[in-house]
Amino acid sequence: MSERTHAVILISHQDMEFELIEERGYPFLYFNRRITLDDALRATIPVEMNLNDEEQTVAQAVKLARSFTILGVYCLNEYRIPLACRIARALGIPHALSYEAAINCRNKKRTKELLVSHGINTARFKLIHTVEEAKAATAEIPLPVIVKPSNESGSSFVRRCATLTEIRHAMELIQHQNCNWVGQVMDHEVLVEEYLDGPEFSVEACTIRGKTTILAITHKQITPWPLTVEVSHCVPASLSDRDTHAIHHAVTQALAALDIDNSVTHTELKLTATGPRIIEVNARRGGDKISTLVRGVTGYDLTELSLHIALGGTLTDAPRHEIKAASAVSQFFIAERGGVVDFNDPVPLGTLPGVYSLDIAVEQGERVEPTTSNFNRLGQFIIYGTPERHATDIAAEVFERLAIRVS
């Protein structure tokens, strides 16, 4: 009997997944709800189907996998991680994140419940459906509060509310959505969280065979309230040894509470007067350009590491690249109001030492809507610090010289 071909299952596509699988020489079964002709030609077996129908998708994956030996299920898409875990489980892949752990992260209210039950320091929260429940929640959690959906992503519909009226508006906005970004039924149970005062960080880590390793801590800057759109990231965050240690400890405990194993993770937290307090945990690499920053500063490529872990690899045998800089920053352009965009010539900035990339997603003179989430920002640039200058200094210069404005 001939040996079956080793292959990888890829769910959804965001970044360099094709290249990374191809580099390793594996055929791949690619599942997505819409597949372009180019991607269809590139995948060994393209499978176009409604990924929200998880039963059917798992059944199709199991059927097609009969012709191969599937080494791992690879997925970077936040919304599809639980599906990838279900497929891995159905195929009996031992080195995969469990479906329960994926759901523990994907569903923010479940994350909260588990963190609280394990005594992890997190923001106080209540789940509400009605104005009465919102009112009752504010009796326990003082205003202002954060209102957010349970199963969205990308800071969509997340609002800081200072009054009961604002809470009602934010709640209604969430409850009027039938579906989230990828068409999954929106959970109408709304999270009301304590607003935490303090700088915000994200922690890129990986847990393999029960051992968690913190790879990087990123300092995040968010738009002024009431929105919560991310405007800049800096790796590594400038922290005292004491705070660094406290963050490492809090994140390791949180990942254990959520039963995370065999996964890259992206944990968001605030450093408050009472120490680090976990906001949310995602069983995937960080979004935006955090991977590029982490790769430049640590040599670990989180996209590549995710595949490596999905294929059963460990951190010891993980690929590691040249460290490019001691600091790295990504900065995003946002529209605080709707209007016409104007900015200075970006071309000379591209040659400034330390500028890794500069992408403006809008045209000069284009009319834009106000930025409301991470999905409709106007562009971004990435800086790697040079021996002479920290990345934040170069970023400030680029931002000032480009002077992107909406009027």
Binding site: I35, L37, A40, L41, T44, P46, V47, E48
Partner: protein, 103 residues
């Protein structure tokens, strides 16, 4: 969009079902024929869907490329004949039999 009258519509639907379900060809042969049609129609979305279906049924990129090459070769051959026909129409004499063969 143009719609056929109900009788024609029914007959057309029956024809389409019969054409795709008649088992004169294997599924693989049918998909190769559909790929050929998709290339010829230059319909990007139809081609996209057919490529997905074809690969799901074991047809590989080399085979898809070969179908594409056959379509291109056939079109080129036809273009060559049309060019020749054009030249012949401008010539003092033409040969009907040769033209008919080409087309």
């Amino acid at each position: 969009m143009l719609t056929l009258n109900p009788t024609l519509q029914e007959q057309f639907a029956a024809f389409s079902v019969e054409a795709s379900s008649a088992n004169s060809f294997s599924e693989r042969e049918q998909l190769l024929a559909m790929l050929t049609a998709s290339f010829l129609l230059e319909d990007a979305d139809l081609l996209r869907q057919t490529v997905i279906m074809a690969k799901l049924n074991g047809i590989i990129n080399d085979e898809i490329a070969h179908v594409s090459a056959l379509v291109v070769a056939t079109c080129k051959q036809k273009a060559g004949c049309l060019e020749k026909l054009g030249m012949e129409q401008h010539a003092p004499k033409s040969s009907c039999s040769q033209t008919a063969t080409c087309l």
